[in-house]
């Protein structure tokens, strides 16, 4: 990082804990508003549960609508957190320090939002237990292990538990700081219980660092598998045009990284604006994440191009007809154009300019555009294929999401924002010990008239170099 503000431990504690130990003025109105939206969404869900799925736009042949598109979208967003955290930890990138926890927490809440969408979608959520939980509830019927719908909960459940535990373990040192800084006795006691007695011995710090590396290495394969498995909900089916493509697994993952990293960039911008964290999240951080986004977006575009090329490669008339529906026919044609423009055509050329990459405002709005585009991408994968699913034209249908579906989808967005705000009220979104470690390890190297930022590197232990090979 060329830009840097070197701060003392005391200053870091004050800056990053002030919004945890006190309540910012805007916090209560924001939480109230988001809470209201969540309650409205839940109300819509209970209405749907009472009256049945007929109140939605779902009907034969479009059995899956915006609920499933939304599910895939939130699974996608959840991927960035662990990716940013794990890959940047493993590559020892210094610029990750202020960003990792917010990204990890966003993962957890996105996963919960993703999980509750299909639960709502099934109409009678308690019945999901019968076909997922490995128990003979009635008549000797067990879950069908060969179904992707049984792979899904195993994968998403594993990822949710892994991410939550990852966040908790890496929070321990910061909970210890809160335990020491909290004034009210009851609050102090709660933090003390949560901190499990963490004191900061060399053993505990070594295990914290190992935890970061080992858990990153363990969670990364899970991260790859989760969205692959979600993509196989579509790809393994031969009945729906446009779904049976082997590229779905990496295509969904790279799309997830694209939308997720964009969401992290949005989070960074909001942290700077709402919490005044411009001393910690610098234009250099936005620059670094924008460069990552250029690579990810270009790779995603290549996968998208491959998916289309192979659809046409099949020379199958139904497949080609579907692509014409997706790209050229109302209402999917305009949506397709918006999707391409917002997810690639506008943001990526803009990110090539340094001024745009280093501007908080530009990064926020370009990443908002990306996420609009990526939500539409999931919509365009799910619905058009189903509209022409069967070969009997009398079974072709249309799909219009109802107000109930829209309210529930909006509820998921409000849920994630609410979750993040509540988390940020109780625990710091920027890892204090990680930022302090960066300050302690920072050095400067003079090269002629120039000063180069440097950092202490933990490479191999020194006895490895002394050993003869």
């Amino acid at each position: 990082m060329q830009e840097h503000t070197q701060l003392s431990h005391k200053q870091i504690n004050e800056d990053l804990l002030k919004d945890v130990l006190t309540v910012p003025k805007w916090w209560l109105p924001a939480v109230s508003f988001l809470g209201l939206v969540v309650l409205t969404g839940l109300g819509a869900f209970f209405f749907m549960m009472y009256h049945g799925l007929g109140v939605t736009g779902l009907n034969r042949p479009v059995m899956w609508g915006v609920f499933i598109a939304n599910f895939v979208f939130w699974i996608g967003i959840s991927h960035a957190g662990i990716m940013i955290s794990a890959i940047l930890r493993l590559t020892q990138a210094e610029w990750r320090r202020p960003i990792t926890r917010a990204a990890e927490v966003m993962t957890v809440f996105s996963l919960i939002a993703a999980l509750h969408t299909p639960l709502m979608h099934v109409g009678r959520p308690w019945r999901v237990l019968y076909w997922i939980f490995p128990y003979d509830f009635s008549r000797g019927i067990w879950p069908n292990v060969r179904s992707p719908f049984v792979w899904d909960p195993s994968a998403v459940g594993t990822y949710l538990i892994a991410s939550s535990l990852f966040v908790f373990v890496c929070l321990l040192p910061d909970i210890a700081i809160l335990r020491d800084r909290a004034k009210k006795p009851i609050v102090k006691k709660i933090y003390a219980q949560m901190a499990l007695g963490f004191r900061g011995t060399p053993r505990q710090w070594k295990l914290q660092i190992l935890a970061g590396i080992l858990l990153s290495a363990l969670v990364l394969p899970v991260f790859v598998s989760v969205h692959s498995i979600v993509s196989w909900d579509f790809a393994v089916l031969i009945g729906v045009e446009g779904w049976h493509s082997t590229i779905f697994a990496p295509y969904f993952i790279i799309g997830a990284i694209h939308s997720g990293v964009s969401a992290v960039a949005m989070l960074m911008a909001l942290s700077v604006w709402l919490y005044g964290l411009d001393k910690y999240i610098k234009p250099d951080h936005f620059d670094a994440i924008a460069r990552l986004l250029i690579v990810v977006a270009t790779t995603w575009f290549f996968f998208f191009f491959l998916e289309w090329v192979y659809a046409l490669y099949t020379l199958a008339p139904p497949e080609i007809a579907l692509r014409e529906l997706q790209a050229f026919q109302w209402p999917y044609g305009p949506l397709f154009a918006i999707f391409i423009i917002t997810s690639f055509v506008i943001p990526v050329p803009l990110w090539l300019f340094k001024r745009v990459r280093r501007s908080v405002v530009w990064m926020f709005w370009t990443t908002v555009l990306v996420n609009i585009g990526m939500w539409l991408e999931r919509f365009l994968i799910v619905i058009p294929g189903l509209i022409r699913r069967t070969h009997m034209t009398f079974d072709w249908g249309t799909y219009h999401p109802s107000i109930v579906e829209i309210l529930i989808v909006v509820e998921t967005f409000a849920f994630v924002c609410l979750g993040m705000l509540l988390f940020a009220k109780v625990l710091p979104l920027i890892p204090l010990f990680d930022v302090k470690e960066g300050m302690v390890n920072r050095r400067l190297i003079k090269v002629g008239r120039r000063v180069i930022p440097a950092t202490i590197r933990e490479g191999l232990p020194h006895h490895y170099y002394e050993k003869k090979q």
């Binding site: 000797g140 067990w142 879950p143 792979w151 994968a155 007695g197 963490f198 660092i209 302690v440 232990p461």
Partner: protein
């Protein structure tokens, strides 16, 4: 006899390292004293011994447990309800492999977390001698010893130049 802990606070890393030297000279063993810091320092900064741990066993044991449980669940449920779906065999290895993989990873991760907490010697019921100044940048050196030796410990800590504060606590 009950053990007591004594904590000295230092503002410089070298002073804390000197305190460890003084404690060794006074006859305290490696396991009797500990450094407390609010931020991770490179290993060996204070001349302390490299902490040994067996963390790497935990993910392996967890993966083995998770793999076994997932295998039993998948194979067990498939054999308990032998309905052929989609023309696939009853024991379909690709499908089972996915769930077994997730089970192994879940087992590995859960056991790793337990291992991290266990190897960190947590949860710790009593904090012993501890100061809130540690999370504000001070470096603490804490000695856990019999009550009769606490004065020796205090002398050794003071010799390195504490910030004028010695805290005593129960272990």
């Amino acid at each position: 006899m009950a053990k007591r802990s004594v904590l000295g606070l230092y503002s410089e890393e070298d002073s804390a390292a000197d305190a460890l030297d003084n404690l060794r000279e006074a006859g305290f063993e490696e396991g009797d004293y500990e450094i407390l810091t609010g931020v991770p320092y490179p290993e060996g900064t204070f001349g302390e011994a490299e902490p040994e741990h067996k963390l790497y066993r935990w993910p392996l044991i967890g993966a083995a447990c998770g793999f076994t449980i997932a295998l039993l669940i998948t194979a067990g449920t498939e054999l308990a309800y032998p309905l052929i779906t989609g023309g696939k065999p009853i024991l379909s290895i690709p499908a089972m492999a996915i769930i077994m993989y997730e089970g192994s990873m879940l087992g590995a991760i859960i056991f790793t977390i337990i291992g991290i907490i266990f190897e960190s010697r947590l949860p710790r019921i009593f904090m012993g001698a501890y100061s809130e100044k540690i999370t504000e940048g001070h470096i603490g050196v804490t000695v856990t010893t019999e009550e009769t030796r606490t004065d020796i410990a205090e002398t050794a800590l003071n010799k390195a130049g504490t910030d004028g504060e010695i805290i005593r606590g129960w272990e």
